[in-house]
């Protein structure tokens, strides 16, 4: 049973001021089973964010279609929750109102909203910060709220576009554990875009590597590391072997992309 089906999805941006059109993404096929955690790994300009935005419905493919549970994606919707790299909490809403944004849009009852907010506040470890404004939170706390906000809608798939890219290394490590912990407790389809190899291995069940100019899928590598995963896994030999392999793949891509830029 395949839940997310990307078939022949390509994206060409029209040329700017008479320039040549740019192929951001070559026609691509990808299928994600309903409880899979897929990481998309690649250098800048490989079209990984473009692919994610097309799945989210925020960008339209030039060719191909995306279907989720058999229903074609025509625009953004609450069945596909998204966490952005930039901080996109609504600054005029408190943490709890941010998390409840989608529920209010859905018309959920006050009791259900309160319960759901409390559950996800707890899941992302933000107890005591419910009444804070985003401005009063650290970057890591803001992204935790953003994850809770996306999950509170109970989407079929969670889309994350380099969500920890702006965080410092230590916080990033903690955030990976937190996200993975949530997924291990309650399997959900996840599409996670990153350019950090360790991150891609640690959280993912499968890694889709992409290459640049034009953007396309290069390989799909399963991560056969047992769950639940502990951060010490990062220093295990299996992890290191996978990291070495991926480093080699991504490195050659990055060099090629850089020399053509």
């Amino acid at each position: 049973m395949s839940a997310l089906l990307v078939s022949g999805v390509g994206r060409v941006f029209p040329g700017v001021r008479g320039g040549r059109p740019v192929t951001a993404l070559q026609p691509t096929d990808l299928s994600v089973p309903s409880d899979d955690f897929v990481t998309i790994l690649g250098p800048s300009g490989c079209g990984k964010s473009t692919l994610l935005r097309i799945v989210a419905g925020l960008d339209r493919p030039t060719t191909g279609t995306v279907t989720l549970d058999g229903r074609p994606v025509r625009g953004p919707g609450p069945d596909r929750g998204m966490v952005f790299q930039s901080y996109t909490l609504f600054p005029w809403l408190t943490v709890e109102d941010n998390i409840g944004f989608g529920l209010r849009e859905k018309g959920a009852s006050a009791a259900e909203t309160r319960e759901t907010i409390a559950y996800y506040v707890d899941q992302v470890g933000l107890k005591g910060f419910e009444k804070h404004w985003p401005k009063q939170l650290s970057g890591g706390m803001q992204q935790r709220t953003a994850i809770a906000r996306a999950l509170a809608n109970d989407p079929k798939i969670l889309l994350l576009d380099e969500p920890f890219g702006a965080l410092d290394n230590q916080t990033r490590g903690l955030m990976q554990e937190l996200l993975l912990g949530i997924w291990e407790r309650r399997h959900k389809m996840v599409l996670f875009v990153t350019h950090d190899i360790e991150e891609a291995i640690f959280v993912g069940s499968r890694i889709v590597t992409m290459s640049a100019r034009p953007g396309r899928i290069k390989s799909i590598i399963p991560v056969d590391l047992p769950h639940p995963r502990h951060y010490t896994l990062k220093s295990s030999p299996e992890f290191s072997a996978l990291r070495a392999r991926l480093t080699e793949e991504i490195r050659s891509e990055a060099i090629r992309a850089d020399s053509e830029a």
Partner: protein, 258 residues
Amino acid sequence: MIRPFQPVSARARVALGLSFFALFVAVWSLATFGGFVSRTFLADPLTMLADGWFLLSRQDFLFDIGMTVWRVVGGFVLAAVFAVPIGILMGAYKPVEALLEPFVSFSRYLPASAFVPLLILWAGIGETQKLLVIFIGSFFQIVLMVAGTVGATRQDLVEAAYTLGARDRGVVARVVIPSGAPDIAEILRLVLGWAWTYVIVAELIGASSGIGYMIINSQALMATGQIIFGIIVIGLIGLVTDVLFKALNHRLFAWRFA
């Protein structure tokens, strides 16, 4: 030592602010009491105060102040009630912007004061004419500035709202308006200041009450003390409304100042 961007203490801030007022009055006193400027053209501070007292106690100047405040607030509120929604529509919906923006940009440069003779022909010299002058002066400015603010709404917030299930109306009501509200309040504060200029212009011609009417009457009497008193009253009212507006914004939009 003054260094760039170094903050000052709250007490020093108040003291410095007041000291410049003191300096201003001191220079004025020196010029008038010292005999450097003829009394015919510039009253000294004490004469100004005496004239002010005369206006308030004998000439029912409080009524004039009330009339002027009423006209400013009336014309301004009328303009804001229509201009803010139109500005929001223009900022959010590009076809509306394409339709209205050129005309509004053109109308913005039409001087409100130049409409006074025309408005007297159309609306007489009653209150309607005064309100219309302020309306014309404020309306187009508010529309354009609100449209600009709304047009600059952070697109990543709009996208986030869509992925959370918001539809077009929800995006306008729950993202565009709340995110722009503090700037819209700031625009209104700014334009209210301008409205004070238009009201005096409206009262200089064809009025029988108001601060502007008193000023034009005092000119005929060479009562410069009264004119200066009237101008200072306007300044004080402006200062007070400004402080109130700012305090209100801080309360309403606490998230921005947190």
